[in-house]
Symmetry: C2
Subunit: 120 residues, 2 copies
């Protein structure tokens, strides 16, 4: 069972965290057979945190977890904090395959996505 | 002449700001006839700031400027700070049409974009 976990920064504004949770639901709705489950976790300021988010995926039966940092630029959080926390989880759950992808701002489709967003 | 202006938060890390400038260049490269120019400006911590970015577009001949906040969630910056600064510019440049679009995280294509980013 393969789970997708979005990691966002987390905000003091509950509505902002709910936006991320809702996005995970929308991705889940279109994921088809690619992912059995899609959920979200937060680096700080909101729940679940990253270790708890990974733990939930495993409790739900995930044997593989793909993690996508929902960040636009590679600041310290993307370059250092998230890999550190994820690596700790990798060592704790050696029976689960955990893949950490680049932050979404690095995606090669971002320029086209941005351009399309101007004509919606 | 129609210009596209990306607005990012701005970072203390020069590499992060350069990522945004490079993204604007990539969008420009694929914009075709949709936009005569594509550039970037920053809410804080980097140059140009938003008024200077708008001023540059006008100095280059823009009669219309479409502004896209390069933000994922609607925090205070998206909900309050950017509209306030843009509205001031709108009043100062009444001969130029200035359109402020929603932040990119609000785009209805974001779930599909996110899903595609997991298989690149």
């Amino acid at each position: 069972m393969h789970s997708l976990l979005l990691i966002a920064h987390g905000s003091r504004r509950p509505a902002s965290n709910d936006e991320v949770r809702e996005l995970a639901n929308k991705v889940k709705a279109i994921a088809g057979e690619q992912f059995s489950n899609v959920s979200s976790a937060f680096l700080e300021l909101a729940e679940p945190d990253i270790p708890a988010g990974i733990g939930r995926c495993i409790a739900e039966g995930a044997s593989e977890i793909t993690i996508v940092p929902y960040f636009l630029s590679a600041g310290r959080h993307v370059a250092e904090d998230i890999p550190r926390v994820v690596n700790t989880a990798v060592m704790q759950h050696s029976n689960v395959k955990i893949n950490l992808l680049p932050h979404i701002g690095a995606g090669f489709e971002m320029p086209a996505f941005l351009l399309r967003s101007t004509i919606e």
